[in-house]
């Protein structure tokens, strides 16, 4: 079975642009969470979606948005990119909404560079 997949692998944008990152969860998983990992830091929670509804949001500005589709795949959108948005963006999927962490499976991430 395929694990969590994310696209693209790498992305380079300039300040002020908009970006869309994509995630496909493990088959049968209904929950998708997004994390931002800045160089030298641990992953920081951005959003959780379960059954196509937002179930949790971290401390990120409104420039960050996401959605989940009927097939449970998800997109993360970031508008008006800033240099500080350069990071590895990780997607994690799980079967259930209230994951205790060990049920979350991470994708390899999308490396976003903002110039």
């Amino acid at each position: 079975d395929a694990g969590v997949t994310q696209s693209p692998t790498h992305l380079i944008k300039t300040r002020g642009q908009q970006v869309t990152l994509r995630c496909s969860p493990i088959s049968g998983h209904k929950s998708v969470s997004w994390y931002q990992q800045v160089l030298g830091q641990g992953p920081q929670f951005i959003f959780q979606y379960y059954e196509k509804e937002e179930r949790g949001r971290g401390n990120f500005p409104d420039r960050f948005s996401a959605r989940q589709f009927p097939n449970y795949s998800s997109e993360l959108n970031v508008n008006a990119l800033l240099l500080g948005d350069s990071a590895l963006y990780l997607c994690a999927s799980s079967l259930v909404r209230q994951s205790v962490g060990n049920e979350q499976f991470f994708g390899p991430g999308t490396r976003l560079t903002v110039l």
């Binding site: 641990g42 959780q48 971290g58 994690a92 994951s99 205790v100 962490g101 979350q104």
Partner: protein, 109 residues
């Protein structure tokens, strides 16, 4: 506001010896604590977890200890192997995961 902290950015250990990775947290409401392992170009993979009502959980070479009064947990790897070389993240769960900054473990053959 870093609620989960790993104060050692790196650790080097000889193969066969014990590796001890430490983690401190500030929020007493966390209900689960986890360790993730991350190789370059891969996402974090779950290693071991412990409920906040336990003080020890063991899985093969990996043991996690929780000291709630000190708000401290540690991961022991015995014996350490070169394949254990990776970045280890401590995480705490409260609706979602709060990660530490990671410790890079190098096991020297």
């Amino acid at each position: 506001d870093q609620q989960v902290k790993q104060n050692s950015p790196s650790l080097s250990v000889q193969e066969g010896r014990i590796s001890i990775l430490n983690c401190d947290y500030t929020n007493s409401m966390f209900d689960y604590f986890l360790w993730y392992k991350k190789y370059p170009a891969e996402g974090p993979t779950f290693l071991i977890s412990i409920s906040s009502i336990k003080d020890k959980n063991e899985d093969g070479r990996f043991t996690v200890f929780l000291n709630k009064s000190a708000k401290h947990l540690s991961l022991h790897i015995v014996p350490s192997q070169p394949g254990d070389s990776a970045v280890y993240f401590c995480a705490a769960s409260l609706n979602n995961l709060f990660f530490g900054t990671g410790t890079r473990l190098t096991v020297i053959p």
